[in-house]
C-alpha cells in the first residue's frame, strides 16, 4: 500500500472507527437512553461517510461547495440569506486551501501553459464544485434520524412511566416477577 | 343419457351435494338422513353406468384444470379404480342405512357433522379411485385424512382426542414426509405424474436418471408414505381410529380409508413403476439376485403374521378386527410388491373380497354393541342365541376373510399364492398359509362361542339390533358368498390392467 493510498483512504477509516464506536454503544449498552445515544452517533457517522465521499479535491483548480458563485445566472437575486452566508464561508475556506495547493504544485505544474507561481491561483477562472448529491441525501437522512430519535425517546418516557427504570435488565426482571 | 365426462362429474358431485344437503337439513334429521340415502343410491346408479363403460374397454376422462402450474387435476377411470369405486359407492348405501340405525339407536350427538364428513370421505374415495395422476391421488388422499379426522374424534372425550392425534399424526406425517416427497421425486425424474400403463419410470431408468438403489428407495418411500395401507411399522393409526363410532370403523377403516391406501400402492406399482420394472430390476446387478421390492415383501409378510398374532391377543372385538385388517391389508401390499400378474390381480381382487367381508364383521360388532352393549369378546358367551342373524353373518364373513370356500376371499388368496410362486418367492406362501390358520384361530371362535355356550344370566336384556342395522349386515354377508361366484368376472376385468 502506497502512502498515497493510505492517506487517500485514511479519512474513510477514521469515519469507520467513529461509526463502530457508535455501533458498540448500541449493542453493548443496557441503558435505553444510552442505546439511543449510540444510534445517534452511529447515524451521524454514516452521514459523515457520505459527505466524505462527495468531497472533491483538485491540485490546481479551486474546489468549493456546490453553491454557484455570483454572475453565473441572471436570476439568483432572490436567493436566501442563508445561502449567501454559506457561500461566503466556503469561499474563504477554499481560498485558503487553494492557495496552499497552488504553492505545493507550483513548480510541478506544466499544464497551465507556462504559468506558474502562487499569484496565478487567483487567475484560475474555472471553479470546481464538490458533488451536491451526498448533501441532498444526507439532509433527508438527518431528518429521518431525528425522527427516529424522537420516537425512541417518546417510547422511553412511556417505558419509564410504566416500569420506573430504563435499565434493560431491571425491566426484564420486573416482567419476570409478574409472570 | 350423459356423456362419460358428465358421468364422472356427477359421480364426484353427488357426495358433495350430500355434504351440502346434510348441512342444509341439519335441523330436520329425517329429511337429512333421507337425503343421504337417496344420494347414495343415485351415486351407485351413476357408478354402475360408468362401470359398464369401463369394463367394455372405454377409459372416460375428465380434466378439471391446473391446480399448480404445469400440474393438472385430472380423472381417468381404469378397471382397478372402477372396481374400487363400485365397492365404495355400493357399500356407502348400506353403511348409510346402518349408520342411521346405529346413530339413532345410540343417541349420538353431532349427527349432522357426522353424516357430512362421511359424505366428504366418500367424495375423497371416489376422487382417489378416478385419479389420473399422482397429484390428484395425493390431493384426494389428504382430503380423506382431513375429512375423516372429525369422525375419529367424534366422541370428543380424552380417548377420542388421543386416538385422533395418533390418526392424524401418522397419516399426515407419512404422507407429507414420504408420499409427497416420492411424488415430487418421481415428477423430477420422469417429467410426468400421469398413470400410464406399463409405468413412467422405465424410460428414465433406462436412461440412467435413477439408480436401482434410488428406485428401491423410491418404492420404499411410496410404500411407507401411503400410510393408509397400514404396513407395519406405520400401522398404529388404525387401532387408534377404533375409538370412532362403529359405522365409521366399518366403512372407513375397513373399506374407504384403508382401501385407498392399498389401492394407491397398487396404482403406483402398476402405473408408475410398472410391474416389469419392479420384477426385473436387481439391486446388485448380476451377482446375487436381490430385487428392489424384496425387503418390502418380507416386511409385508412379517406384517401379515405379526398383525395376526397381535389380533389373537385382543379381547376388544373392534381392536381384534383392526389388527385383522392390518394383516389383510398387508396381503394386498404383498400382492402389489410381488409384482407378478397373478399377485397383482389377487391384490386387486382382495380389495373387493376383504371390503365386503370386513364391513360385515364391523357391522356385526356395531350391532352387538347397540343390541347388547358388549365390546369385549369374553363377554359374548351365549349372545348368539339372542342375536342369531348377527352371529351367523359374522361366521359367513369370517370364512370369506380366512379364505375358505364358499367365501369370496378364497379366490383372492388363491391368486396371491399363485403370485408368490410366479415371482419366485414360493416360500412366502408359507406365511400366507400360517396367517390363514391364525385367522381361523382368532375369528371363528367368536361366533362359535356365542352359539355354543349356554346362556348367561341376563338373557332378557339382549335382543337383535334395530332392523336398520341387521338388514345391511345380512346383505353384506350374503354378498361375500355371492362374490365367490363372480370372481371370474372380476378376474377378467383386472386382466385388462396387467
Amino acid at each position: 500500500m502506497t502512502p498515497e493510498t493510505f492517506f487517500g483512504l485514511f479519512n474513510y477509516w477514521i469515519v469507520i472507527c467513529l461509526m463502530m464506536t457508535g455501533f458498540y454503544i448500541v449493542i453493548s449498552s443496557g441503558n435505553l437512553i444510552k442505546t439511543v445515544i449510540g444510534l445517534n452517533i452511529f447515524q451521524t457517522s454514516v452521514f459523515l461517510l457520505y459527505i466524505t465521499m462527495g468531497k472533491l479535491t483538485d491540485p490546481v483548480k479551486r474546489v468549493t461547495a456546490p453553491i454557484l458563485e455570483g454572475g453565473h445566472g441572471d436570476s439568483h437575486g432572490d436567493h436566501s440569506a442563508h445561502g449567501e452566508h454559506v457561500a461566503q464561508v466556503s469561499f474563504e475556506e477554499h481560498a485558503s486551501e487553494q492557495l496552499h495547493d497552488a504553492v505545493k504544485h507550483a513548480h510541478a505544474d506544466l499544464s497551465e501553459a507556462g504559468h506558474g507561481g502562487a499569484e496565478h491561483a487567483h487567475e484560475v477562472a474555472e471553479v470546481l464544485y464538490s458533488n451536491p448529491l451526498p448533501s441532498v441525501l444526507m439532509l433527508t437522512a438527518i431528518v429521518v434520524g431525528i425522527a427516529t430519535t424522537a420516537l425512541a425517546l417518546a417510547l422511553i418516557v412511556r417505558i419509564r412511566e410504566d416500569y420506573g427504570t430504563i435499565e434493560e435488565d431491571e425491566i426484564l426482571e420486573l416482567d419476570k416477577e409478574l409472570q | 343419457m350423459m356423456t362419460p365426462e358428465q358421468l364422472i362429474m356427477t359421480s364426484l358431485a353427488l357426495p358433495l351435494l350430500a355434504v351440502g344437503l346434510v348441512f342444509l337439513f341439519g335441523k330436520i334429521p329425517n329429511l337429512r338422513d333421507g337425503c343421504s340415502i337417496v344420494v347414495s343410491v343415485l351415486l351407485f346408479g351413476v357408478t354402475c353406468q360408468l362401470a359398464q363403460l369401463v369394463f367394455n374397454g372405454e377409459r372416460p376422462e375428465l380434466v378439471i384444470g391446473e391446480m399448480i402450474p404445469g400440474f393438472k387435476i385430472r380423472f381417468l377411470i381404469e378397471p382397478l379404480g372402477m372396481i374400487f369405486a363400485l365397492v365404495a359407492s355400493g357399500l356407502w348405501i348400506l353403511t348409510t342405512i346402518y349408520a342411521i340405525g346405529y346413530m339413532r339407536g345410540h343417541h349420538e350427538k353431532n349427527q349432522t357433522r357426522f353424516f357430512a364428513c362421511f359424505a366428504a370421505a366418500i367424495f375423497a374415495a371416489l376422487s382417489a379411485a378416478y385419479a389420473a395422476n399422482l397429484l390428484t391421488l395425493f390431493v384426494a388422499y389428504e382430503v380423506m385424512t382431513i375429512s375423516t379426522y372429525p369422525l375419529v374424534t367424534h366422541n370428543g372425550d380424552e380417548e377420542a382426542k388421543r386416538g385422533g392425534r395418533v390418526y392424524l399424526g401418522i397419516l399426515i406425517s407419512t404422507s407429507i414426509a414420504f408420499f409427497l416427497f416420492a411424488i415430487v421425486w418421481t415428477g423430477h425424474i420422469a417429467g410426468t405424474l400421469d398413470f400410464v400403463p406399463g409405468g413412467i419410470l422405465q424410460q428414465p431408468f433406462a436412461e440412467g436418471k435413477i439408480s436401482p438403489a434410488g428406485l428401491a428407495a423410491l418404492l420404499a418411500l411410496f410404500t411407507f408414505g401411503i400410510g393408509k395401507a397400514a404396513l407395519m411399522p406405520f400401522h398404529r393409526w388404525l387401532p387408534a381410529a377404533m375409538v370412532a363410532p362403529t359405522p365409521v370403523s366399518a366403512l372407513l377403516h375397513a373399506v374407504a380409508v384403508v382401501k385407498v391406501g392399498v389401492f394407491s400402492i397398487l396404482k403406483v406399482v402398476i402405473y408408475v413403476f410398472g410391474i416389469d420394472l419392479i420384477r426385473e430390476t436387481n439391486l446388485t446387478g448380476s451377482l446375487s439376485d436381490v430385487g428392489i421390492s424384496d425387503w418390502l415383501c418380507y416386511l409385508a409378510a412379517a406384517s401379515i403374521l405379526l398383525a395376526s398374532l397381535v389380533a389373537m391377543t385382543k379381547d376388544n372385538l373392534k381392536a381384534r378386527l383392526a389388527y385383522s385388517t392390518i394383516s389383510q391389508l398387508a396381503y394386498i401390499t404383498l400382492g402389489a410388491l410381488l409384482a407378478s400378474e397373478s399377485s397383482v390381480i389377487g391384490g386387486g381382487m382382495h380389495i373387493v373380497m376383504h371390503a365386503v367381508g370386513k364391513i360385515t364383521l364391523f357391522f356385526c360388532a356395531g350391532a352387538i354393541y347397540v343390541g347388547a352393549h358388549k365390546k369385549n369378546i369374553s363377554d359374548m358367551r351365549g349372545l348368539g342365541r339372542a342375536m342369531p342373524l348377527t352371529f351367523a353373518a359374522f361366521l359367513v364373513a369370517s370364512i370369506s376373510i380366512i379364505g375358505l370356500p364358499p367365501g369370496g376371499g378364497s379366490w383372492s388368496k388363491w391368486f396371491l399364492a399363485v403370485g408368490c410362486v410366479e415371482s419366485g418367492q414360493a416360500w412366502l406362501m408359507g406365511a400366507l398359509m400360517i396367517s390363514s390358520l391364525l385367522n381361523i384361530a382368532y375369528l371363528v371362535p367368536i361366533p362359535i362361542r356365542a352359539f355354543m355356550t349356554p346362556k348367561g344370566e341376563e338373557p332378557q336384556k339382549w335382543h337383535e339390533a334395530p332392523m336398520m342395522c341387521v338388514v345391511p349386515l345380512c346383505i353384506t354377508a350374503v354378498g361375500s358368498v355371492v362374490l365367490m361366484f363372480f370372481a371370474d368376472s372380476i378376474y377378467r376385468v383386472l386382466l385388462q390392467i396387467v
Binding site: I16, N31, P66, S75, P132, P134 | -
Partner: protein
Amino acid sequence: MMEFIVIPILALLFATAITVAVIRNLWAAVMFTGIYSFLGASWMLILDAPDVAFTEAAVGAGVSTILMLATLSLVPRSSRKRGSISNSDFETKDPPRRRVISSLLVVIGTGAMLIYGTLDMPLFGSADAAIQTYPAPSFIEKSQTEMGEHGLPNVVTAVLASYRGYDTLGETAVIFTAGIAVLLILRKNKASDEIGAGQSEVTS
C-alpha cells in the same frame, strides 16, 4: 493548511465518541453527543457540505440534544424510588463483561469488513471517482440549464427540490409520521375512553 484544522477536529470527534462510550453519567453522555454532532458538523463544513453542516448542527447538536435532555428531566418517580431525584438515577451501569466482549467482537468484525471494502474505494477527493464523473453533465450543470429562470445558486437546494423532490416529500412524511407517533405514544388516555391504559393487565 487544512490538515491543521482537520486533524484536531477528527481527534476531538474520536475522543468524544470514546467518551460517550465509557462515560456513565447520562447527562454528560447527552452533552457529549451534542458536542459530537457539532464537531461532525464542523467537519462537514470543511468537506464542502455547508447545508448538511448547518442542518446537523441545528438538528443533531440542537434539537436532538434538547429532546434527550427533556427525556432525562421528565422523571416521573417510580413508586419504588419516590422522593428526591438523586444523581444515581442517571448513572448507567457498566455492561457485564461478557456483553462487552461479544459486542467488541461484533464491532471489530463489522469494522474490519468495512475497512476491507474501502480498499477498493476511490481515494478521498479524487476527481475521477465514479461519483464525480457520473452522471455527466453533472447535477450542477444540469440544474442550471434545466431549471432555466428558476436556477437556484445553491445546487443542493435545487436538487432537493427538483430531481430528488420525492425524497423530500418522503422526508416530510417521516417527520409527520414521527409526529403522529409521538402523539400516539405520549398522549394520555382520556377519561372517556372505555378502556384504560391497562398497565396492570398482562396477557402473557
